[in-house]
Each structure stands twice: as structure tokens, then as C-alpha cells.
Symmetry: C2
Subunit: 456 residues, 2 copies
């Protein structure tokens, strides 16, 4: 490379521009390929997903291969009328392209041969073999009242894998639409400012000596390349304080740890399949036992908030206190953390041996506050999502219409035909049919649930 190669890239100038007297050499094949390519795909690999999806998938494939589950994309930011922003043809083209993807040989070798959380062979040979034939199942897309209704019906083993690519595709198509009208220069300034903004955050994070942080930003990212830049920024700027990324493809490409364990869909499906209220009440704990058994006592991080953290802790068997820790995901971090610490203490457990992972809408201010609040009292880790990979607020020279992040989720909405429900600690994050929500509230109680604005 030229000694100034990077400088040139940073300036966004063609590599040979500076050779005033030398004609630029264009790679004709590259240009021709570009002209002929059908579309500019957003998701180019089935590994471009969150690691927890693969861990959950393996358990689902081993134990629940017969369950049918429907996932639905839900835009909680109703004011943004996605169907008026994103072209339906473009959206279908991206979803169709994702359906053509297969795990490549290289990817499967990496999954089989890599160690995760220090453990070899996290994925069994039979599961790797099963993955080789995997493809994303069909989707159902329609426009309703300015929004897209995007649903995935079929075996849980397949529909579950749509969650991350569907969200990444919609978020990036929205960002592309917002940028289409912008000039070349406005885009250059936009990215320069976003880089400067993120680096300012990195410099503040460097002041936290015991910080443990990972990237959780795949689903809400501005775009794949931007997420990659953000991950490189954290790797460079935070060193060992940056422990990895939830994005499996980026983990592979950048030699980082893949981070993640499990998500709400496990207790939600278990709850949906419960035959009566007693089974419903015990569903969250059955799921944990299953997980623990399947992963031989590894990956013991529990999500407490699927049906309210207060209910979960109130009824939790004492063995739950032996797990490594919790990922509070809808209570405010300090309140939610204090509630869990108090519970550990009530179980006779020293919280300093336990781990709390905060990942709900965190940003630099709340990371700092939470860090300082809990530092020394409990082990801490942060999963940084939307505000890491999609913070373009105030970065566009002409304002940021279309670039403020929205609260878009993809949730399981039914299992074997029975409606699925998530209560969460924040009623605004509740999903599910009203009658069924009312039943869940009767079973689990409303204690501790407080309405709070959902920003991202």
C-alpha cells in the first residue's frame, strides 16, 4: 500500500487522485460488476445475526423442532410511517435476497472449530450438519395503515432466524431512504460527525477502568458497514474492556468474541404452550432448567423481565440464585439492578460474585451512571446497542429527518397457534393480544411494572 493510503481513504478520494500526472487506473471488472448487480444487499451472510439466535436455535432444534412459531415485526414508533418511507419492492428484494443465503463452508467450519466463552464445540456436529441445509423461510408482507405488517410463520427452528435480518434490513432501508436525497458532501460530513461523536463517547468510556462492554447493535444498526466501523472503534479505543460483539459475522471477521446467551422468545414460547395457569406461572423457570441442562451449566445468564422482574424474583426457586447473573432488559438500570441485588442478598448470595448485564437502550450517560452506581458492588457488563450503531442525531448538515433511531422489534407472537405474550417491566413494551395479556397479568401480577417512555 502507499504510505498515505489510509489518509486518502479517510478523505474519500480516489486512490490515485494525487498522482496528478498519472492516469487513474480503473478496475473495469469491478465497475462492470457494479453496474450489473441486481441490488445492493443488506444481509449478505446468515452469520450476520446475533449470537444468541444460534445458541437458542441449537436448543430449539434439539428439543422443540416440532413447535410452530410466528414472529412479527412491530414498529413501536408509530409516528414513523415505514410503509411511506421504504419502497415495498426494495424491501421484498432484500428479504428475497436474504432467503437465498446459505451458511458457507468457511462459516460452518468456524462455528464448529471455534471456542465460545472458553468452551470448545459449543455447537454439536449434528447441529452444524443441520445448519448446512438451513435457509430462511417464506415471509408474509403487507401494508396496513402506513406500516408494514411483516410476519414469519412456520417451524420455530426457521422463523426465529428472521428476527435480526428482518430488523437490520428495515432499519438500513430506512437509513438509505433518508440519505438518498443528500449530496455527496453532506454524506461525507454526516459520517465525519458520527465518527467524531462515537469517538468522543469512546474517550469517556476509557475513563472507566473496569468497564466490560460489548456491541449489541446489529438489529438497530444504521448499516452493516457502519456497525463494522463502530466495532473497530471500540476494539481500538477500549482494548480489553471491549469484550466482543453479538454479531457473529463481525466476530469471525474481526477475531472478536461472539457475545450472547438467550432471549425473551424462550419463556414466551414456553408460556404460550402452557396448558393451564400453573404451567404458565412456572414456565420461566422450566425454560431456565432446560437451558442449563442443554448447555451443561454454561451460559447461565437469565432474563428476568419477560413477565415482570418482580414476579420472576418473587417466585424464583432458590437455584436461580446460583446462576452467573441476570440481564435486566426493561427496568431502568439502577432500579432494576438494585432489585436484583436485594434479591441475591435475600438468598444469602454475595452480589460481588454475580454478574449484571445492562443492554436496554444504554448510551454513554447511562453507562457512566450505572457503572459508577454499581462499581465494586456487583460484576458489571454492558451490551451497547442502538446508541452505539445508530446514533446520527445532530450529525446531518441539514438536520436528521429519517435518521433518528426507531423502536422496531421482531417478537414471537404465537406458538403452535396459541398467542404469545411479553409483559416486560415497562407496560409500553408489552406485546400480545389484550385478553391474553390480562390473563398473564392475573397470573404474574402487576407489581413493579412502571410505564416509561421507550426511546429506542
Amino acid at each position: 500500500m502507499f504510505c498515505k493510503g489510509l489518509l486518502l481513504q479517510g478523505l474519500g478520494l480516489p486512490a490515485l487522485w494525487r498522482y496528478g500526472t498519472v492516469m487513474t487506473l480503473t478496475d473495469i471488472a469491478t465497475r462492470t460488476y457494479g453496474h450489473n448487480f441486481r441490488l445492493d444487499p443488506i444481509v449478505r451472510s446468515l452469520l450476520d445475526t446475533d449470537f444468541y439466535k444460534l445458541l437458542m436455535l441449537q436448543m430449539i432444534q434439539h428439543i422443540h423442532a416440532d413447535v410452530q412459531a410466528t414472529f412479527s415485526v412491530i414498529n413501536r414508533t408509530r409516528s414513523v410511517r415505514l410503509a411511506e418511507v421504504i419502497d415495498e419492492e426494495e424491501l421484498r428484494a432484500q428479504l428475497d435476497f436474504a432467503r437465498t443465503l446459505r451458511f458457507s463452508k468457511k462459516e460452518l467450519i468456524w462455528l464448529a472449530g471455534n471456542s465460545f466463552y472458553g468452551r470448545q464445540q459449543m455447537f454439536s456436529p449434528d447441529f452444524i450438519a443441520w445448519l448446512a441445509d438451513f435457509r430462511l423461510p417464506p415471509y408474509d408482507l403487507r401494508k396496513v395503515d402506513g406500516q408494514y405488517e411483516l410476519r414469519f410463520e412456520g417451524p420455530w427452528t426457521h422463523t426465529t432466524m428472521w428476527e435480526i435480518p428482518a430488523l437490520a434490513i428495515i432499519n438500513e432501508l430506512r437509513a438509505r431512504a433518508a440519505m438518498r436525497a443528500r449530496g455527496k458532501f453532506a454524506l461525507d460530513v454526516l459520517y465525519a460527525r458520527a465518527k467524531a461523536k462515537l469517538w468522543d463517547k469512546v474517550e469517556r468510556l476509557r475513563l472507566l477502568p473496569d468497564l466490560v462492554l460489548s456491541d449489541f447493535g446489529t438489529r438497530r444498526r444504521h448499516g452493516f458497514l457502519w456497525q463494522r466501523w463502530c466495532v473497530e472503534a471500540l476494539k481500538e479505543g477500549l482494548g480489553s474492556r471491549f469484550i466482543g460483539t453479538s454479531n457473529v459475522l463481525l466476530a469471525m471477521d474481526a477475531d472478536l468474541e461472539a457475545i450472547g446467551t438467550n432471549a425473551h422468545e424462550l419463556p414466551m414460547v414456553a408460556a404460550a404452550l402452557a396448558r393451564d395457569d400453573a404451567e404458565l406461572a412456572s414456565a420461566p423457570y422450566r425454560v431456565l432448567e432446560e437451558w442449563r441442562a442443554h448447555y451443561n451449566g454454561n451460559l447461565l445468564i437469565a432474563l428476568p423481565d419477560a413477565f415482570g422482574t418482580t414476579a420472576f424474583l418473587r417466585d424464583a426457586p432458590s437455584w436461580v440464585a446460583q446462576w452467573t447473573g441476570f440481564r435486566p432488559d426493561s427496568a431502568p438500570p439502577i432500579e432494576g439492578g438494585e432489585q436484583i441485588i436485594a434479591w441475591w442478598k435475600s438468598q444469602g448470595i454475595d452480589p460481588r460474585t454475580k454478574l449484571l448485564i445492562f443492554s436496554d437502550g444504554m448510551d454513554i450517560d447511562t453507562i457512566e451512571q450505572t457503572y459508577h452506581h454499581f462499581h465494586g458492588r456487583v460484576r458489571l457488563s454492558f451490551g451497547w446497542g442502538t446508541n452505539l450503531t445508530n446514533d446520527f442525531r445532530d450529525c446531518a448538515p441539514d438536520g436528521s429527518p429519517g435518521l433518528e433511531p426507531i423502536s422496531l422489534v421482531c417478537k414471537v407472537t404465537s406458538a403452535n397457534g396459541r398467542p404469545a405474550v411479553k409483559l416486560s417491566d415497562n407496560p409500553r413494551k408489552t406485546t400480545g393480544e389484550a385478553a391474553e395479556v390480562a390473563r398473564y397479568l392475573r397470573v404474574f401480577g402487576e407489581g413493579g411494572r412502571v410505564e416509561r417512555k421507550v426511546l429506542v
Copy 2:
């Protein structure tokens, strides 16, 4: 091009990175050329200079072709020991490369065929023909006490043309040295921040509806590519309020107006050649008469401060008040401007018909202050130099050692063997031998000269 081509460039990622399944196509010839190139030249064209050099050169070549003039590079920021920062071999390689340059056919055609300040054929056919054979003359380089002594001796018609390339080469070599130790990522953040910083300035300038501004930053630039980015930023951000650039190459490439008229070397040489004190006293006005006659009454901008603005105005013939305006260059902008306005009024001239061009160390704050102070009272224009093209203060993730701009100038120091002097309105900008400076002070007086810190 791909529809996301620019976005990719802005992110500094290889163009095909995003095609996960497509091998990147490398242009082997480009890479090989890069490996074999002797050096990465800083000045690649003789047009990469300030426009006023060409305007002055034409007059010198027509009228003063027999004058011998020595130019010397002077680093007023003594604390920066340039000879310890810049490798002598590298410096010689760059200077030698610049000496190999010729005006290309395309460049001469553009100079001959373009209109400047609305006037066709600003450069005569005989001068264009003379330029075709032009090359930069030899240089004399030695190290003295941690600094470089860089001098150019020979015909004024040739040595004058070293001013801008010599300064641009030294400034860029210093910037390259400061960046050599930085990692790829630190450089990316550095440029992102510098871009964001400049754009913040642009957004403030957009609030000044009658702003008239041009780029004067060639000599002090961080680097050629960076200057080019800055010029594009102003073009995009300020529209018609950005009237052009002093850099002839950038003016040609970006279809901008080339901006500039004349500089201190004209009165300095005239003063050096004066045979007695009376001729010395009248030298500044003789030069103006010569200029006016040579350019047929165009380009009538006077520099008042070569030997002190107070003296210049005190002794100025009344016809000087008929000129288009002044470029005060070493007095503080508001004081200097008020002094000239008062003089115009004393000559019975309405200042609103006259032009003041401010170009001495301006930055966003002083531009705003000066604009608001004079708006409506006089026509205003700004030449923005160092703080446009070399403001990396607080932009480097690891601090900015070696990136703060220095006050480096290249001045005529003798003409036909006689010492040249510049007094300026600020004694810290005085150049010349002590005895000769004393004589000039006797002839012109010390009135109005006030010592002020020289920042850039």
C-alpha cells in the same frame, strides 16, 4: 458506480468489502506502481501555487526581468525545531521533485483561455510562451541550530515562484511526520473530527448573508488533499458566498475563480532597490502605479502595511483613494479597517463603495466579529488561510503534537544584493537586517506599529 459508492469511501472501506461472497478485485498495476514510486510528491504541478504569484510574475517578467532576488524561508515559531522533525533527505527529495515540474500544455491552455476577474487574456501570449520553459531554480538548504535555512537565489522571475511550494512542502512534511506514528484508526478519527470541526465553522458562516470569502490556505495547508476537501466543503456549504480559491490548480480542477492580486514582495523589492531615502519613501506608491499601468486599471487592491499602514496612508497620493480597496494584513482587522475607513473619509470617499479584504490569521470568531463590525459600512471580503486548511487542534485522539500550525513564511531578503525589509504593522512580523530596519523606521516612522502575538 454502486449506489453506495460514496458511502463506502466515506467509511474508508475497500469498495468491495461489502460483497461478502465476492473476491475483491485488486488493480495490480496500481499496486505495483505504488510500490515502485520513488516518493509521494507533495507539489505535483506548478499551478499548485497562489494566483497572485502568477500575476506578480507576469509583471516581474515584463518589467523587472533583470532583478536578482533572494527568498528565504523563515520559521517564526522558533519553539518548533523543524530540522529535528523533518528528515533532510525527504525534504531534498520533495524540493528536487518540484524542480522537475513544468507547466503542462493543459495548464497553459487554461491560463491563456480562462477569464480572471471577468477579464479575458489576463496573461499575454508572450508570458504564456515564457512559462512553457519555466522551472523552479536551485535551492540552498542547510541546518542551523535545529532549523532549516532554505534560500533561493537567482533571477526574481524564478526565485519568487518558490514561495508557495517551499512552504507547502515543509508544512506537509511536518504533518506527515506527526502522523507517521499514529495508527490507522487514530488517523480516521483525526480526519473525521477535522471535517466535523470545519463543517461547524461553515454552518456558522452560513448565517452571514452577505459574506464574501475565499480560500487563501495553500501555503499553510495540512496537505494538498486536505486543502482540496476544505475547498469542496466551502463550495458546497457556502454556495455563492464562497467566491474562489487562491490555489490555481484547485481553481482549475474545481471550476472556481482564482483569487489574488499582489503581495509584499513588490514594495519590498522596490524599496530595496531605492537609491536614497527619498526613493525609499516613494517606493510603495511607485509600485502601485506600475501595477495599475501593467494591468490596465484592473486588480486595484493595495497592501498598505509593508512599511506600516500609518506611514502609507499619511504619505499616500490622493489617487490611491481611487483604488478598489485595501488588504490590511498585519493590523488587527477592526483597528486596521477603521484606520483605512477614516482615511477614505478624509479623502472625501464613501467607504461603502470601497473594498476591504481581511486575510491575516482569520478564523471563524474573527470573521464573525469583523463582518458584524463593518457590515453595511464598507464592502468586505475574507481570505481564509491557515485556520481553514490546517486546523487540527484537539482533533487527534492522542493529542495534537506536531499538528498545531506554525508561523512559517518565505520572504524576499535581498534584491540585486541589497537587503530587503518588511516593517509591517506588527514589529514581530518585521524581517530584514537590523541596520536596514532602523533606516526604514527613520524614513517611514514608527507610528501605529503595535507588537502583537503572531499565532499563525
